[in-house]
């Protein structure tokens, strides 16, 4: 059985979806040549230059163009090379793409997937390393997906393309070289459903994207401390799967949310508020968060390491929650 990197498996998912559905088209800067990370390499040769289309560096226009094409029956998969550049396309994504179905009274839908890449992975610095998912989870009409591994990315990308809604699909660049074996029998995951990545009974640890891998490492270490950790991989950030969270919290009564994005106003704040409002009686203590301190991502590797939340932060907070470490 073949072992795939994250990059290869994304290519495979795109290739299969383009073969399955002739309306799927790829757009983006350099995509015909493979894109900045080689995800689309070879697809232009196989599916033709019309269906794998290089664009100028015009994020606002290409996002508008992809949205207009989606409204006209194409299923575009638009690559925005770095999520930091999606800021140039926010007028379209927030004011047009997200609201089209609603504003038109249900006449139109926008079956568009915006693949973009986020997170810090060594020296990309402040404008190429951000985790900006909260910009999007605030906007009604969008769907936000953040896969945590190659297998997850394969299934979620295929599901996102088939969904028929505007999806912001956020890939973490640190995962690009991660390898996994793709199982033969593979059921596509439903968009909007989280998964339990590891079962446990003492603490619910909620994460998404690359932070799930960090959370799994932390869970292993916590096990050696006698703490049983349940890791929830959100998969979809918008909409949020409160059912899966609720089931886990009812079992563990303690919640820790971890993400690479700045902690202030982040995904964790929303989840903590929902848990506080809906599951307060289940809690044995306050919901805790681990996120990035309130600073831009620095350039020098030792500064970047110092800033980013890692498994040792998660372990420390989880031990404190269990009364194993003083505050």
């Amino acid at each position: 059985m073949a072992i795939h990197t994250f990059i290869d498996i994304l290519k495979r998912a795109l290739d299969e979806e383009m073969t399955r559905d002739a309306s799927v088209h790829l757009l983006g800067e350099d995509v015909a040549a493979g894109g900045a990370f080689g995800v689309t390499r070879g697809l232009a040769d196989k599916h033709g230059a019309t269906r794998v289309r290089n664009t100028p560096i015009s994020e606002a226009a290409i996002t508008g163009l992809a949205t207009g094409a989606a409204l006209a029956g194409i299923r575009p998969v638009l690559e925005i090379m770095f999520i930091d550049f999606a800021t140039l396309a926010l007028d379209c994504l927030l004011n047009q793409t997200a609201k089209y179905r609603y504003m038109s009274g249900g006449q139109l839908t926008v079956p568009l997937v915006v693949r973009t890449q986020a997170g810090a992975a060594g020296g990309a610095a402040a404008q190429h390393s951000q985790s900006l998912e909260t910009f999007f989870i605030h906007i009604p009409g969008l769907v936000v997906v953040a896969p945590s591994s190659p297998i997850e990315a394969y299934g979620l990308l295929k599901s996102a393309i088939r969904l028929g809604e505007p999806v912001i699909f956020i890939e973490h660049k640190r995962l690009y070289t991660m390898k996994e074996e793709l199982p033969q029998d593979f059921a596509l995951p439903a968009i909007g459903k989280a998964r339990v990545a590891r079962e446990g009974t003492d603490v619910t640890l909620i994460a998404y994207s690359a932070m799930v891998q960090t959370a799994l490492e932390a869970a292993k270490e916590l096990e050696s401390n006698g703490i049983s950790t349940e890791v929830i991989d959100l998969r979809t950030l918008l909409p949020l799967d409160m059912d899966t969270i609720s089931q886990s919290v009812s079992k563990t009564h303690r919640v820790l949310i971890a993400h690479e994005a700045v902690q202030n106003g982040g995904m964790g704040a929303e989840i903590a508020a929902r848990i506080g409002a809906e599951l307060f009686d289940e809690l044995d203590g306050p919901v805790q968060r681990v996120g990035c301190p309130f600073a831009p991502i620095p350039f020098a590797p030792e500064l970047e390491r110092a800033l980013l939340p890692g498994s040792h932060h998660i372990v420390q907070v989880a031990r404190r929650m269990m009364g194993l470490e003083s505050v």
């Binding site: 606002a60 226009a61 163009l65 409204l71 194409i74 007028d91 009274g105 139109l108 839908t109 508020a273």
Partner: protein, 317 residues
């Protein structure tokens, strides 16, 4: 076409009256005085040609074939409106007539129209996309990005600029040194013309030529129509930034008066033209009565259509 000019003129007049009476929520923007551009261009479009307009789009939509009553019902926020009262004056969509959208954010419609043009090209269809915009949109980066893309990919797209000389409240010479919007098309090798947008005969003939060029596969075309905004930027704008002389001159420039002079000179009897005006007035009155009598949206439906799939309605908090 004379009838359509009157329909739009009187429709906008009715919107203005209803707005003054407090029956129109929000900020309606009127196209009074710019009717000839809408009518002269849309006369050449089929239902399958995609129309993307701006915040000042009532005229374009009516000229494309949208129903008077359903359009007015939308503008006054009724369930029977084109968008079930979800869009309003600045977000009119009528898919049945190829009205693919209007955007309240200036220049936001241009790239969407390019997307419709690219879809037609990729799907091997012969349709084109038309984007109407004001001269104010040329200050936005996405205007230039879209010109570049449309030219590069030879998209079947007609850019129609209604140059009314004002970007909201500021005259053109205060916001750009480029006198004519057509000048922006030249560096991108997009064929362009600056024409008298208040003369329906001119607009009709020039739009025919532009659209023939696009349908023949020569790529995009930019038509700059010099026109005149007879109303303010929005209903209620006192227009203190315009001189009395300027406002008086617009009567002379009125596209309806001008077409009337052409038609009378061609021997069309005045009684026929007067009858068309009366019929248009009756149509608008009837449409207005029905639209105003229509049901308002049920507040219980406010969450409809955020997503296609009901299972995605998860953020309830």
């Amino acid at each position: 076409m004379y009838r359509m000019l009157w329909r739009i003129r009187l429709f906008e007049g009715q919107v203005q009256r209803l707005a003054a009476a407090g029956e129109v929520p929000g900020f309606p923007h009127l196209s009074t005085g710019q009717e000839a551009v809408a009518v002269g261009v849309c006369a050449h479009l089929s239902r399958e040609d995609a129309l993307y307009t701006s915040h000042r789009g009532h005229g374009h939509i009516l000229a494309k074939g949208s129903d008077l009553e359903a359009t007015l019902a939308e503008i006054i926020g009724r369930e029977s409106g084109l968008c079930r009262g979800r869009g309003g004056s600045m977000h009119l969509v009528d898919v049945r007539h190829g009205v693919m959208g209007a955007t309240g954010v200036v220049a936001g419609n241009l790239a969407l129209a390019a997307g419709a043009a690219w879809a037609a090209q990729a799907q091997g269809k012969s349709n084109l996309a038309v984007a109407f915009f004001g001269d104010g949109a040329t200050g936005a980066g996405v205007f230039h990005e879209t010109l570049n893309l449309a030219s590069l990919w030879k998209l079947p797209m007609l850019f129609v600029c209604e140059n009314n000389g004002y970007a909201e409240f500021t005259s053109r010479d205060e916001h750009s040194n480029v006198n004519h919007v057509s000048h922006f098309a030249k560096p991108y090798s997009i064929p362009t013309k600056t024409i008298d947008g208040n003369d329906l005969k001119v607009v009709h003939a020039e739009a025919a030529e532009a659209i023939a060029s696009i349908r023949a596969g020569h790529g995009p075309y930019l038509l700059e129509c010099m026109t005149f905004r007879m109303a303010g930027h929005y209903v209620g704008d006192a227009q203190q930034y315009r001189s009395k002389e300027e406002l008086a001159a617009m009567i002379e420039k009125c596209p309806i008066e001008r077409l009337k002079r052409h038609l009378l000179a061609d021997g069309v009897p005045a009684t026929v033209l007067d009858a068309i005006q009366v019929e248009a007035k009756n149509e608008i009155e009837q449409a207005s009565l029905r639209a105003r009598a229509a049901a308002r949206p049920d507040p219980a439906t406010v969450m409809d259509d955020v997503y296609t799939s009901p299972t995605l309605h998860a953020i309830s908090g």
